[in-house]
Amino acid sequence: MKRIDLEFDLVVIGGGTGGPMAAVKAKEKNPKLRVLLVDKANVKRSGAISMGMDGLNNAVIPGHATPEQYVKEITIANDGIVDQEAVMAYAANSFDMINQLDQWGVKFEKDETGDYAVRKVHHLGSYVLPMPEGHHMKKILYRQLKKARVEVTNRVVVTRVLTGADGEVVAVMGFDCRTADTYVIRTKAAVLCTGAAGRIGLPASGYLMGTYENPTNCGDGHAMAYHAGADLANLECFQINPLIKDYNGPACAYVTGPFGGFTANSKGERFIECDYWSGQMMMEFYNELEGGNGPVFLKLDHLAEETIQEIETILHTNERPSRGRFHEKRGNDYRKQMVEMHISEIGFCSGHSASGIHTNAMGETSVPGLYAAGDCASVPHNYMLGAFVYGRLCGENAAAYCAGHGQGVIDAGDVAAEERRILAPLGRTDGLTPYQIEYKTRRLVNDYLQPPKITRKYEIALRRFDEIREDAESMFAANPHELMRAMEAHSILDCAEMAARASMFRTESRWGLYHYFLDHPERDDENWFCHSLLSKSAEGRMQMRKKAIEPYIVPIDEEERSAYQRLRVAHNAEAA
């Protein structure tokens, strides 16, 4: 074990989707900039898009949708709690990004005239663009990283962003998960692209890595941002997804919807108008699941053979290709049975929901020199294309920031303290294992934090998390790999506490199931039409405050405002 000291202008943390884009765009903006991309995995196959992607879920393409329509759709889908300027920055740059990816060789579905073949999945507009050959995504990004001469360090787990006297970014620390060498990387700026916090709750299967998100994404970025003094926004707006039961991956209604597939109850009847994932949709799903009409299924068995074959080709070769293998073992055949679905454990994710590190329309966090893009940031319903667009914005804006700032002064005490924290589990020969700490935290998250939310349960959870924090002081790691799991367990605990504190703060219900608070079952626009922000107090504790919604730039009328409240199929409607 040694200590490695490096110096860069910009460090991008996480090389999944948004990260490579941020690094490439920073280099394009200033080729002299010294840019390092760090990933705990290997950027060749890391992140949510490790095996590619089924399609763009939120493409804003002229002729199919306008940025204004998109901003409206997301404002309504997210119950009004959005910074419209930040959503607009995504929407206005969406089409350029699609063309950029097209130029780089990403294959999107096009019609006979060469126009992008956009499909309707959302409640109001059309934004889904299939990528039947989406499995090449990581290769294409890797080529661009090489071309732009971005330096890449794989298998380094970043644990902290260090700040200087004015609270600005001065360094990034971490360790190698194979050698336990520690890294101190001096830098002027950093972009967090660490993905969702997808390992807070426990999958119903009990398998720790059986998560919807790539399990590398355990909330390290959220924890790092918090400890660096950044604000985190609307964390109580959990991510909860409708997934294939036990497999815990997308079924996937976005792909099958345009072919005629739909979410059905046990009678094979459609019960929601629209399969686009929103809190309200999840609420309807939950009600059906828990009511007499459960379980809930994805229904494809009424489709023609060629259609089913086409669906199989997409779903079983792309994104989560082991779906086919799972179905085979279960004897599931799309032709004969409906696929059983379930709701996932909770997480933070702005890709699908709206919870994450607070960022504005420039991708800036509240810490000078710290940017965030993709699932870990706070721009709602951003999905893959949002990670790319904000990756670009963060890369370019961070490059501009670097031009105006020198290297800061690193506090030697901070470095020593973090080195001690990282290496502590390796120094012990006895104690609790990272597996035990992680399992117990995540099991308690399921028991006490999974909605519906109840104050008394949340209070118990907080007390139990405190106990685990004490226990975690005796965690031991037998090797560098286990050390990675140990440090992740600390991030998971931090996120679990953040999820509890943010939820208890917002004393109303909003976002359907995501923040369904039984003690406060009504939506309360008078008091809670605002963001909630979580940050670290001077005493080192989690504190909450309200932030007013930024003035709308795209007005929403009364009728539109409630569109997502009307998802349930009318009672006596015919099954589709």
């Binding site: 995995a41 290997n42 992140g47 095996m51 299967s205 398998y207 059986g210 998560t211 293998r325 790999h481």
Partner: protein, 77 residues
């Protein structure tokens, strides 16, 4: 207190006859996002060292000799 090791059947299988790790191949170990594969120093073959699999398949897809096969972990199956 002492530490016990609990046995578990892992989801990733490597066909030793096909694996060419002894010739320097480490592809599956390199691409696994969770870093759960390793080369056995004695047999000089790849194997699953930690039962922490996302059943995502880069190891199987990228192996040059088709030596890796991934099953869905038993708890999910």
């Amino acid at each position: 207190m002492t530490i016990a090791t609990t046995q578990t059947q892992v989801p990733v299988n490597v066909d030793n006859d096909k694996c060419i790790a002894e010739k320097g191949c480490t592809v599956c170990v390199d691409v696994c996002p969770l870093d759960v594969l390793a080369i056995d120093m004695l047999t000089k073959k790849a194997f699953m060292k930690f039962d922490e699999c996302w059943y995502c398949l880069p190891c199987e897809t990228d192996c040059p000799t088709g030596a890796v096969s991934v099953s869905i972990p038993y708890l999910l199956r």
